[in-house]
């Protein structure tokens, strides 16, 4: 005979598994460090491309001044300041990435832990039957 309590429990679990659970399982397939590391690599690529685009736009914006001063300006000093700006942006962006994805990973793990608890209670129902 169909056990109503069991069906309710299984339905709730199936709803979670077919929705948010799918993403959570993909996340928890990684170790925490691997998951956050992968996201930080992606962020590194994105911010590097964005910085390059903004730097190109800056060159276009100040093209005439740069061309006029190109022989007199200290290129090493300029390169240092550009590198410094890039590193500052990179560090901030990677820190934000770390924070966002660490929180996301922890939340996914917590939801999956709840699913495991539900599985245990389902086993208990089975034993009672």
């Amino acid at each position: 005979m169909v056990n109503e309590q069991k069906v309710l429990q299984m339905t709730k679990m199936a709803v979670y598994e077919s929705g948010e659970g799918r993403k959570d399982k993909a996340v928890s397939g990684y170790f925490r460090g691997d998951y956050i590391g992968l996201q930080m690599i992606l962020s590194f690529l994105v911010i590097t491309a964005a910085f390059a685009a903004v730097a190109a736009a800056y060159v276009c914006f100040n093209f005439e001044e740069l061309m006029a001063d190109i022989y007199t300006m200290d290129l090493v000093e300029m390169g240092r300041s550009v590198l410094g700006a890039y590193l500052a942006v990179l560090v901030v962006y990677l820190a934000v990435t770390w924070l966002v994805y660490a929180v996301r990973y922890n939340r996914a793990r917590k939801r999956l832990d709840t699913l495991l608890d539900d599985l245990e209670s389902l086993e208990e129902i089975d034993e009672e039957i």
Binding site: V7, M10, T97
Partner: protein, 328 residues
């Protein structure tokens, strides 16, 4: 009030029942409005101005995720701006990069705020958005709202200066790129609006989370006042070109719209009718979980009182009373 609650429950029930059809239709309509608005406001590229392309694109959007709608809108905008001038396209690409870095990289679920912000600016009622973002979203919702504001002002500058930007005889490409960038970066109205909308969103979110009665109504009121104050103080300090009347009336209109939205708000994720399949050792289960109706429509009972029946009842009760007193 009961009638409104009944109507709300009816809408919830209707949505739960026909969700599979309603959601694609709503997405189709939103996409259609967006594409036609883009074509109407910009419309520099003749090839995509015919109604067939927006129609087909909207049909595609109806069954694709919301991210696809964002992508197609970006393509439409880029195509029109490319037809206007190459420098404008470069500036728009920079705006896209900014949006990608601060918003899309973190794969959010709040594309609706990003899409609706420029649209509501075009309709002249943007002030409802920070309230809605704070009420129904999270503090992070301020990011797509801010991105939407920036996108609107970038496009607004380009459409406002289309004649100068479109002429090929004007200055050199680099000079025009410089002019466009300066024109947008110097737009104090944009910066003040971004600040006002971000502060309003966060404020509304914080107040609506407080455990006080009517926290959501208070949040709307405080958010609206904060929005008006920041915009007007910003206008006074930096001499931006806000129309005071439109800020005040628009904000009041926005607050009213937010109140209506708040009343009819229901958590779509929770409400959804779920169809799931699973199995145990004995059975296969095909379950359809339908959300319950909280308020039922009041049953109307019409009691007919005719004078004849009333007269008969009165006589009957009177004679019973007399018989009782006779027995005593």
């Amino acid at each position: 009030m009961t009638n409104l609650l009944v109507m709300k429950e009816y809408i919830k029930g209707f949505y739960a029942k026909y969700e599979d059809f309603i959601l694609p239709v709503l997405k189709f309509l939103l996409a259609l409005i967006l594409f036609f608005t883009i074509n109407g406001q910009l419309g520099y590229m003749e090839k995509i101005n015919s109604p067939v392309i927006p129609l087909v694109s909207a049909l595609l959007c109806s069954f694709m995720p919301m991210g696809f709608m964002v992508f197609l809108c970006a393509v439409f905008l880029l195509a029109h701006v490319y037809a206007l001038s190459l420098e404008c396209m470069a500036v728009l690409l920079l705006a896209y990069i900014f949006i990608a870095v601060v918003y899309l990289r973190f794969s959010p679920k709040e594309h609706l705020f990003l899409l609706l912000t420029p649209l509501l600016f075009c309709w002249g009622v943007p002030y409802v958005l920070p309230l809605a973002a704070g009420l129904f979203g999270s503090p992070v919702s301020a990011v797509p709202v801010a991105c939407g504001v920036i996108l609107y002002y970038v496009l607004f500058y380009m459409t406002g200066n289309a004649q100068a930007l479109g002429s090929t005889e004007a200055d050199a490409i680099l000079q025009r790129f410089r002019d466009v960038t300066m024109g947008i970066a110097d737009n104090k109205e944009m910066i003040i609006t971004v600040v006002a909308f971000v502060v309003t969103t966060v404020l509304v979110y914080l107040i609506r989370r407080m455990s006080v009665d009517y926290s959501r109504a208070i949040a709307i009121l405080v958010g609206t006042l904060a929005d008006i104050v920041i915009l007007l103080v910003g206008d006074l300090m930096y001499e931006a070109n806000f129309s005071i009347a439109s800020v005040i009336f628009g904000s009041i209109l926005g607050a009213l719209a937010a109140l209506v939205m708040q009343f009819f708000h229901f958590n779509l994720d929770y409400l959804r009718t779920e169809k799931v399949q699973f199995e145990d050792d004995e059975y296969y289960y095909y379950v359809k979980a339908v959300p319950k109706m909280a308020v039922t429509a009041p049953e109307k009972r019409v009691k007919k009182i005719t004078t004849r029946r009333a007269h008969q009842n009165a006589r009957r009760s009177h004679s019973k009373a007399r018989a009782k007193s006779g027995r005593n």
